[in-house]
């Protein structure tokens, strides 16, 4: 397959392919140092150290999850207290209308449920998934991104992006081949 794109269409960015984990870590660090913002690394496996290499700030997802959990807990308690003790209290085995021990299981389950949903949905939203279309999917080689190859993509919208310099940066960092991707 040919390794450079023809002129039609807007340029989305450049895509460089790497063989090994160290290589891509190396390259990522260099791209980061070069001050690029809109770049990304595509790997079939999560690579430890990539966060630093790319300079990603730690996700705030945990706070969301904690929030959801708290919401679940209070919802659970309120629900049980209001329904069984306030709205329509029945005499059940002469037991108190609302007893904390009996309320714990449901409260716990609701806590976990909401927290888990928070984590799952939160992750998707933050990652902007589902995203069925992405320019990179147009690139045949990119199929291996989920198999055994590592890629770095730099988007054209990055202020520092310049077709030539950026390409040389990628190539010098060992990216081979480096492709132009159209958006």
């Amino acid at each position: 397959m040919s390794s450079h794109a023809d002129g039609k269409g807007r340029l989305w960015g450049l895509l460089a392919e790497y063989e090994t984990v160290p290589a891509v870590l190396e390259a990522a660090a260099r791209v980061r140092d070069a001050g690029y913002r809109h770049f990304d690394v595509h790997t079939p496996i999560p690579i430890h150290g990539l966060d630093e290499a790319m300079g990603i700030r730690v996700s705030r997802l945990p706070w969301l999850v904690a929030g959801c959990g708290a919401a679940g807990a209070s919802a659970g308690l309120l629900l049980q207290w209001w329904t069984n003790a306030v709205d329509y209290p029945f005499i059940i085995s002469a037991k108190p209308y609302f007893g904390l021990p009996a309320a714990i299981p449901v409260t716990f389950e609701l806590t976990v449920l909401l927290a888990a949903i928070g984590a799952f949905v939160g992750m998707l939203v933050a990652n902007g998934l589902p995203q069925f279309f992405h320019p990179l999917f147009r690139v045949e080689r990119f199929r291996r991104a989920s198999n055994d190859r590592f890629f770095i993509s730099i988007e054209a919208r990055d202020p520092r992006f310049d077709p030539r310099t950026t390409r040389t940066l990628l190539e010098s960092s060992g990216g081979k081949p480096v492709l132009e991707v159209e958006g």
Binding site: F90, I91, I92, S93, A94, K95, P96, Y97, G99
Partner: protein, 1015 residues
């Protein structure tokens, strides 16, 4: 639909209402009942009832969904099917639709009447209760009497006349029959009745008696015989021997201190059993510090034997000997008796001898307050001797009195049927009219009555069912059910009751009197006219008296005055000497009327079929009962089918091992194995009549028992399986704490013996909610009084629309009874103590069932009731698991699916008919509570103690069950809850039951010597 139903049924077809309404409304009902419109209406009214109890709810929820999906498309269109209201065109005076009325009438069994009150709801009789004013009832009612409602609505009752000629079956009309009757009467006139015979079932009806006498005048050469397979003729004959003429004994247990009963099931198997039980139950509470003592000798374990303080298991054939032994002991102890009454029949030191000695000692103590009773199955001689002993004790006048026999001239039933058979065989009878009864099925086997009957040129059979006999007769006439008919009947003590209809005959049946009248050329007269005529002749027939008789249910002062017959000692001696001793051995077969089905006439009654036998808890079957030892000797187990043969005939029956049954005795109940008994009766049990001969109607000597190798699953309500030794042992350990008991002496020493202290220290883990209701309902059940007869079970079934589930389901432990009577054996299997414990919902204050229900379908009321809300129940059955008393019942199927529209007329509209998949249980008869409460409020008065009586308490012969308000310190139930004998079972589980039991008291004689009847 329920309400719709009652309107349509009720207002549309308002029935009797006794008198004031006159006949017009019945006619209208008759038309209605016949009209297709009516049938169709029931059809469309009832299926919903049957399908889902909450049909509307189901529809509602479905509609919710529909509505949602159709949200935008005219929702108001969504609604369940139209219901119609059928108001009267003419509403009877003073009749309020939907408000039940009670009418007094009487039901008759074997020639003795039981006075009852029938609750009629919009013209449909739905519940039979005892009539407090009636001497044999005193407010209680037997199982068969209460089940009469179901019998009346039985769709399988014969609905038409039938004419069977040369193999073909035609349906004539009553007019055809009347034609036959008049023509026949005419021909008889000529011959003076020669060749004409009437075979009637026993009846005490003065009207029938009067007609009979006129018949005999008109046709002097005719033959009139009376036959009942189960009768007390032996007693009658025996007393006739002793007194030179038939008299009827009446027992007064209220005055008895020592009772010696031989095969005498006087608390249960006696026309006055209810009355006996009432007095017995009252006395056994030992409120006065004393209580009577009972000695019972019997071959099979009976309710009476279970209640006795001393019981001796003895073959029926040995009773005569035992009685002579007793006489011997009495004489020895100083009672002046003619020589030759007593005899030393048993070896000194033998159980029999010891039993007799102990009893004799007590009798002598009690003298006039002693009583010797002999059962109807014992030969006349034994009765004669017993009468002699009572005379000698001076008991006559205190514990027993004698009344005139209604028909001194009557041939005994066995003679009668034998005589008739002979006549048929000779061919001297060309015309036989059978009025009631089912002789083709239950006549003594050796007479081969069925064959003779078939050969008779003209035969007419009047009967509720087109049964075995009808099918052999040329004519079958549908008989009007007692609840449909006018008539009269006499109680055991002679008290007259007027029988009044609750509803127009559903199938146009006629009464016995009407048929006789037809023969006497009085076809024009209705049963009503005939009854009034008799009433006028015998009791002075002012409308006033007639009205009172109807409303009271009894005719004042119509009881017979006691006689003082002279005893003939020689005759007694002769009788006594006639008693062989020691009796011949050999395996003995004891036949007995079934506790529920009697002689088999009730075989098509689901309630009675499913009512557990008090002792064996067997349902839907009879079985060859054996003592544990005999079972071992014959190498048979529970359920093995054995062949019983005697006198060349044999039957095959499954074995049921019963502790406490006499060795060498096989027991077998009559009344099962009907061939033409109807769908309910079909397949239930085996027919014992083939083994029954005129010579030995009750106890058959020398019966051969052999195994067939086949087995039959027996549907017992308890011990659904043979319990292993481990379970046996544990059960033995537990009974003591479940049913607490003490002897009178021990009770006197420590009245609080039953109090449970173990749980009293227990404290709740949480702050308990206290109930704010203005009443706090509770129940007390006195185990000293309860005799385990099971009347409460049927009362509850009738009151609360409890379904009949059938043999297979009972065998699988799915019976639905809300109140069951737990039966426990304790002690030596050969001579066990039998204990009964009625078990309704305990309405625990800390009800374990409630906290586990996920949808709050069972919760507590402010008045301390454990409420089960059927229409909220989703059927997880968790409540049942968590109920330590296992009183909850689950509808595994739609139990009313197969129930015919007619039978559904027996439903109590005040109680929801439960559908499939919901739990149900005892409600303390909440419908009665609410009715009483609203009535009281409408009258602006407080509820009084006794305003509310649940069905079980109402019918209990011994008044063992008491219900009331615990908040009212003066209420009977509060008093009983404070009673020293009061305890709650499984209190240690901290369930706080609202039902307390009063511990059982027994009164065994102190070991030989200082035997002392409390007095």
């Amino acid at each position: 639909m329920r309400q719709g139903l009652d309107r349509s049924m009720g207002e549309g077809s308002r029935g009797s209402g006794g008198l004031s309404l006159g006949k017009r409304y019945w006619r209208s009902l008759e038309e209605l009942a016949a009209s297709p419109a009516f049938r169709e209406r029931i059809q469309q009214e009832f299926p919903e009832l049957a399908e889902e109890l909450v049909a509307p709810a189901t529809r509602r929820s479905i509609l919710k969904v529909m509505a949602a999906s159709l949200a935008l498309a005219g929702l108001t269109a969504c609604r369940w099917p139209k219901e119609r209201i059928m108001p009267f065109a003419y509403r009877p005076e003073g009749y309020v639709p939907g408000v039940p009325q009670h009418f007094a009438t009487a039901l008759e069994l074997g020639g003795a009447a039981l006075g009852v009150l029938v609750k009629s709801y919009d013209g449909r009789p739905i519940k039979v209760e005892g009539n407090p004013a009636h001497p044999s009832s005193l407010g209680a009612a037997t199982a068969w009497a209460q089940a009469a409602v179901l019998e009346m609505y039985d769709p399988e009752r014969s609905t038409t006349l039938v004419r069977r000629e040369g193999g073909q079956r035609r349906v004539p009309t009553w007019d055809d029959f009347l034609a036959l009757a008049t023509e026949h009467a005419a021909s008889l006139q000529a011959s003076g009745g020669a060749g004409f015979a009437v075979l009637a079932e026993a009846t005490s009806s003065p009207t029938v008696l009067a007609l009979k006498n006129r018949l005999e005048e008109q046709f002097p050469r005719g033959l009139w015989v009376e036959y009942e397979p189960v009768s007390r003729d032996f007693e009658r004959t025996g007393l006739a021997q002793a007194f030179g003429g038939p008299v009827r004994p009446r027992l007064h247990l209220e005055r008895a201190q020592v009772i010696v009963g031989l095969e005498s099931d006087l608390l249960f198997g006696h026309p006055e059993g209810l009355r006996h039980a009432r007095h017995w139950g009252a006395a056994r509470r030992a409120e006065g510090g004393t209580m009577p003592r009972m000695y019972a000798a019997e071959a099979l374990l009976t309710v009476t034997g279970a209640a006795a303080d001393h019981r001796l298991a003895l073959p029926a054939g040995h009773m005569g000997a035992l009685l002579r032994q007793l006489a011997h002991e009495l004489a020895r102890a100083g009672l002046a008796l003619p020589a030759g009454w007593g005899a030393e029949a048993f070896a000194p030191g033998s159980p029999e001898a010891r039993f007799a000695a102990l009893a004799a000692g007590d009798l002598l103590q009690a003298r006039p307050h002693g009583l010797v009773v002999v059962g109807p199955a014992q030969p006349p001689e034994v009765h004669a001797l017993a009468a002699g002993l009572n005379e000698a004790l001076g008991a006559v006048g205190t514990t027993v009195s004698y009344l005139p026999d209604p028909e001194p001239g009557r041939r005994s039933h066995l003679d009668g049927i034998a005589r008739l058979a002979a006549a048929l065989a000779e061919g001297t009878v060309q015309a036989l009219w059978i009025l009631g009864g089912n002789p083709a099925w239950d006549a003594p086997a050796e007479l081969d009555f069925a064959r003779l009957l078939a050969a008779c040129p003209q035969t007419v059979h009047l009967s509720l069912y087109d049964n075995e006999t009808s099918q052999l007769c040329r004519w079958h006439l549908p008989r009007a059910h007692p609840l449909e008919s006018w008539g009269d009947a006499r109680a055991w003590d002679g008290t007259v009751s007027v029988v009044q209809p609750l509803i127009e005959p559903l199938y146009g049946g006629r009464t016995l009197a009407e048929v006789l009248a037809a023969l006497l050329g009085e076809a024009a007269l209705s049963a009503h006219d005939l009854t009034r005529r008799t009433f006028a002749q015998q009791w002075g027939g002012g409308d006033e008296g007639w009205r009172r008789a109807l409303s009271d249910g009894v005719v004042a002062n119509s009881a017979w005055a006691p006689l003082r017959p002279r005893l003939n000692p020689e005759a007694v001696e002769a009788a006594a000497r006639g008693l062989e001793l020691p009796p011949a051995g050999g395996q003995e077969l004891v036949l007995h009327p079934d506790a529920c089905l009697h002689d088999g006439r009730f075989a098509n009654n689901g309630w009675l079929q499913e009512l557990p036998d008090p002792i064996t808890t067997l349902t839907w079957d009879n079985a060859a009962t054996l003592s544990p030892e005999d079972a071992q000797n014959h190498k048979v187990r529970h359920g093995d089918v054995v062949r019983l043969s005697a006198g060349g005939r044999s039957v095959e029956a499954p074995v049921l091992v019963v502790p406490g049954q006499a060795r060498g005795v096989v027991g077998l109940a009559l009344g099962f194995g009907r061939q033409a008994g109807g769908r309910v009766a079909a397949g239930a049990g085996i027919n014992a009549y083939p083994l029954r001969t005129a010579a030995a109607p009750w106890a058959v000597r020398g019966v051969h028992v052999e195994r067939t190798g086949r087995r039959r699953l027996l549907a017992t309500a308890q011990d659904h399986h043979v319990i292993d030794t481990l379970g046996m042992a544990e059960r033995g350990r537990r009974v003591g704490s479940l049913i607490r008991e003490a002897s009178l002496a021990a009770y006197r020493a420590n009245p609080e013996f039953a109090r449970n202290t173990a749980w009293a220290k227990a404290r709740p883990l949480w702050k308990e909610i206290e109930f704010k209701g203005e009443h706090q309902w509770g129940m007390a059940i006195d185990l000293s009084a309860c005799i385990g007869c099971g009347a409460c079970t049927i009362a509850c079934q009738a009151e609360n629309n409890i379904p009949v589930v059938g043999r297979k389901q009972v065998a699988n432990g799915r019976e639905m009874h809300w109140i069951r009577v737990d039966r426990y054996f304790a002690g030596d299997p050969a001579d066990p103590e039998v204990r009964f414990q009625p078990m309704p919902c305990q309405h625990c204050e800390n009800a374990p069932c409630e906290s586990v229900c996920p949808v709050a379908a069972t919760v507590h009321s402010e008045e301390g009731l454990n409420q089960m809300v059927y229409n909220r129940c989703v059927g997880t059955r968790y409540c049942s698991n968590n109920c330590p008393y296992k009183v909850r019942r689950f509808n595994f199927f739609n139990n009313f699916k197969g129930v015919s529209p007619t039978t559904r007329m027996a439903f109590n509209p005040e109680v929801t008919v439960r559908g499939r998949g919901v739990m149900e249980k005892c409600t303390f008869c909440i419908q009665r509570i609410e009715t009483a409460r609203i009535a009281a409020k409408n009258e602006r008065r407080p509820l009084r103690d006794g305003d509310i009586v649940p069905a079980c308490a109402q019918t209990c012969p011994t008044r063992a069950i008491v219900f009331g308000d615990l908040k009212d310190p003066d209420s009977e139930v509060s008093r009983l809850h404070r009673h020293p004998r009061a305890y709650g079972i499984l209190e240690e589980l901290f369930t706080r039951p609202r039902t307390l039991y009063l511990a059982k008291l027994t009164n065994p004689a102190a070991p030989a010597g200082e035997g002392e009847a409390s007095s």
